[in-house]
Symmetry: C2
Subunit: 115 residues, 2 copies
C-alpha cells in the first residue's frame, strides 16, 4: 500500500512539443507496481495548454481546481472543478487553461499507455 | 468522449454489509465503454466507513474533501485533501471518516474488478 500527499511527489515540466506551461506529477506510476493503470496530477498555468494530439490509449480525467476547456476536433468543452472526462483512444484532444489561476487535474492512463 | 460534472451523475447508497453512510457515483463505469478501468466518486458522512475487506483488484484513490483514515491490518493512516493511495490486490482496507464534514474521494478500479 502506498499513501502520500500529492505535493510530496516531484513535479516536472512537460517538455513535449506543443505543450506550454504544463507540469506533471506521477502519483502512481510504473515504480508503484500498480497492475493496470497509472495516476498523474497535472498543472497548467494561465495561458498554458497541453499538446493537441491523439494516441492509442484513453484518459480518465477529473478536475481539481481552476477552469479550462478541452479542445476537440469539432468543439471546445468547458471544464471546471468537479468536471470529469473520458477521452477514448484515438480521439484528438487538448487541455487549455482559460482562467487566471493554475488549472489542476488528475489524469489516469492504462499501464499499456505512455510511460 | 464523455465530459460531465460529477454531481450530474446519480448518487446511490452503498448497501454492502459493513458499509455505514457511504454513497457512490459511477463517473466512468461499464456503460462508458472505458477500455481498462473505471472511475468512481465516493462520499462518506461523518461517523461513516466503508467495509473492512480485501479483494483481488486494486484501488487508486485521491482525496477531494474532508478527513479520514485508511484502516489496514497493522495501522491507521490519516487522509486529507490531496492525499492519494494505492491499495494493492489482496490488501485489507477500510476508509473511515474521522472529521465532521463529508469525506469525498475518487477511487479507480480495473475493468476486471467489481462491476
Amino acid at each position: 500500500m502506498i499513501v502520500k500527499k500529492y505535493h510530496e511527489v516531484e513535479k516536472t515540466n512537460v517538455i513535449e512539443e506543443g505543450a506550454q506551461d504544463v507540469s506533471i506529477r506521477w502519483l502512481i506510476g510504473k515504480d508503484s507496481h500498480a497492475p493496470h493503470f497509472y495516476l498523474r496530477h497535472f498543472e497548467i498555468e494561465p495561458g498554458g495548454y497541453t499538446p493537441y494530439h491523439a494516441h492509442p490509449w484513453e484518459h480518465e480525467v477529473f478536475v481539481l481546481e481552476g477552469s479550462a476547456q478541452i479542445n476537440t476536433k469539432n468543439e471546445s468543452i468547458p471544464l471546471e472543478k468537479g468536471s470529469f472526462a473520458l477521452v477514448m483512444p484515438g480521439e484528438e484532444h487538448q487541455f487549455e487553461n482559460t482562467g487566471d489561476t493554475t488549472f489542476k487535474f488528475l489524469c489516469a492512463i492504462p499501464e499499456t499507455g505512455k510511460k
